[in-house]
């Protein structure tokens, strides 16, 4: 090979893996910068009420029906799936503790957040993506508004504040659904349903479940807005941004659930002086 000449090769799997790694790290860094800018605007300039209330209405009020349905069915399905196993061990009267503890600790926050990632996250990404491809974001800057302050902060606040409330709503309705199926269809005593719920479900479970949903809501807002701002041109670009918003939000929810689960277990053990046995 003579000096000064270059030959191009088809990328090998190593090249592709390297490019994916660099792209992934770049995307994480970009998201971190985006988040930092948003937090900066959050503490320096609160959005006007005319901007904040519509965002809260879209995230909170408009999501309530689908969250209610989600929570109801989660509770009912949990009751149905748990009953036979508990009955084999003659523990069917404790179904309340199984359903409600699972609901409040894990399934309520995760499934409600997943539902909202699809509904709220995709909508946010599509809306901001459409604004980007139609130059409305440039128009915001030309008119003296910062796009992150005007578009991202209200949506972040709405998700940060309201997704935990929606999660609690899902939990409550899920408990009702579990009770309904357990007592009306499966013949479990209502007294024992709530008695064992009260025994095994603690305030810490409710607090940790709600705390998780705060992180999930924040992740949904940031990922969805970030995807919208990086939308490529045309209808395909907007569609891809909406899809990516849901997929990346969902992955973030699962990752956060895992990490927070470990952290919160250690916090619990440290706070109540429980000896560490695993992890």
């Amino acid at each position: 090979m003579s000096a000064g000449t270059t030959t191009t090769h088809d990328p090998t799997p190593i090249h592709t893996l390297g490019r994916w790694t660099v792209d992934f790290i770049t995307a994480i860094g970009d998201l971190a910068c985006f988040t930092t800018q948003m937090l900066g605007w959050l503490v320096t300039r609160m959005p006007r009420s005319q901007v904040l209330w519509p965002a809260m209405h879209d995230v909170g009020v408009m999501s309530a029906p689908v969250v209610l349905i989600t929570g109801l069915f989660i509770g009912m399905v949990l009751a149905v799936q748990s009953y036979d196993t508990l009955r084999m061990m003659h523990f069917e009267s404790r179904i309340g503790s199984v359903v409600n503890a699972s609901l409040v600790r894990e399934l309520g926050p995760v499934l409600a957040a997943t539902m909202l990632a699809g509904r709220v996250g995709s909508a946010i990404a599509a809306e901001i993506g459409t604004m980007k491809v139609t130059e409305q974001i440039d128009a915001l800057r030309a008119l003296g508004a910062d796009p992150i302050s005007y578009l991202v902060v209200p949506r972040f606040l709405a998700c940060f504040l309201l997704i935990p409330m929606l999660t609690l709503l899902a939990d409550g309705v899920g408990m009702f659904g579990g009770w309904l199926v357990s007592t009306q269809a499966l013949g479990v005593s209502s007294f024992y349903y709530w008695h064992y719920s009260d025994t095994f479900l603690t305030a810490y479970d409710i607090v940790t479940g709600t705390l998780k949903s705060v992180f999930f809501g924040s992740a949904i807002a940031l990922v969805a807005c970030h995807r919208g701002f990086h939308c490529t041109a045309g209808a395909e670009g907007v569609g891809r941004a909406a899809t990516e918003a849901f997929v990346y939000s969902f992955v973030a929810i699962l990752a956060l659930d895992f990490v927070l689960g470990i952290v919160l277990i250690h916090v619990y053990r440290w706070w109540w002086f429980v000896p560490v046995t695993v992890m």
Binding site: R48, P54, T130, M131, T134, E135, Q136, D138, A139, R141, A142, L143, G144, A145, D146, Y150
Partner: protein, 270 residues
């Protein structure tokens, strides 16, 4: 012998500016200035970088190389808040109007005032009514949404929005694209009225020769980089409207006259 009076200092300037997107060069070593009070028109084929040039001048894009100057000072040396404050001196009419879909016409026009000033509500209402009147729209238009408006109405609302903050310079990005000939001339007339009544500086991007004839004090023509040799300048013409229409350069003649002959030969040879 009397000497020509010195040209006023430029309010906007590009010096050796280049811009690429994802490795694709769009602008290469562009230099020109915009003088106060003039109506400068940028023309060129689709994709030659006219809109990118305008956004660079307005500070909405950063150059890959070179510098942008506002009032003789480089943009890169300014703090973010200073750029934000100075950008309020500009009005921008985007190619597709870029009205905010979630707001009605009133809220669109009042947007800049609400975001950047403490103008009382009553005064904002008066300003919006006045801007609508200036662009020839009835007051009832204020409560409509952008989706309810025709293309020409959207452009006029966008112009009203661009003028709401009483800018010193107005950027018009393809103001007549997609409009019928009559509406196009209405927009041309509004641009002229705005320039004369408000003493603004206008920078207009267009490939409509009728607009060029009507509004231009000076014309700059850009050429697509893909059809230039590495040493050829991207600005292929700079001068008055009369000089443009008398120019002998075949590239300029074919563009001005709307003749595809030379381009068809290039496409056939490719």
């Amino acid at each position: 012998m009397p000497t020509a009076p010195p040209l006023p200092p430029s309010i906007l300037e590009l010096r050796h500016v280049s811009r690429s997107f994802g490795g694709q060069a769009v602008l290469r070593d562009i230099s020109f200035d915009v003088r106060p009070g003039e109506s400068l028109v940028l023309i060129g084929e689709s994709g030659c970088g006219k809109s990118v040039t305008t956004k660079l001048l307005a500070g909405l894009l950063q150059p890959s190389q070179g510098e942008v100057f506002w009032d003789g000072r480089p943009l890169a040396s300014r703090a973010r808040m200073e750029i934000h404050r100075d950008r309020l001196r500009f009005g921008y009419l985007f190619q597709g109007a870029a009205l905010f879909d979630s707001l009605n016409v009133f809220e669109n026009i009042a947007f800049g005032l609400r975001e950047n000033t403490r103008t009382p509500v009553a005064e904002i209402e008066a300003i919006v009514r006045e801007r609508l009147r200036e662009v020839g729209l009835p007051a009832e238009t204020a409560w409509k949404r952008p989706a309810d408006l025709s293309g020409g109405m959207r452009k006029r609302v966008a112009l009203a929005r661009a003028l709401a903050m009483s800018p010193e310079t107005v950027f018009y990005d393809e103001p007549t694209t997609g409009l019928d000939p009559v509406m196009s001339d209405i927009i041309n007339e509004l641009m002229l009225q705005t320039q004369h009544s408000r003493q603004v500086t206008s920078l207009i991007v267009t490939h409509d020769m009728h607009t060029v004839r009507r509004v231009a004090d000076r014309v700059i023509m850009l050429y697509p980089l893909a059809r230039l040799s590495p040493t050829e300048p991207q600005i292929v013409f700079q001068g008055t409207t009369d000089e443009l229409f008398d120019c002998e350069d075949p590239r300029i003649r074919s563009f001005v006259r709307g003749e595809a002959g030379m381009r068809m030969q290039e496409l056939a040879a490719a």
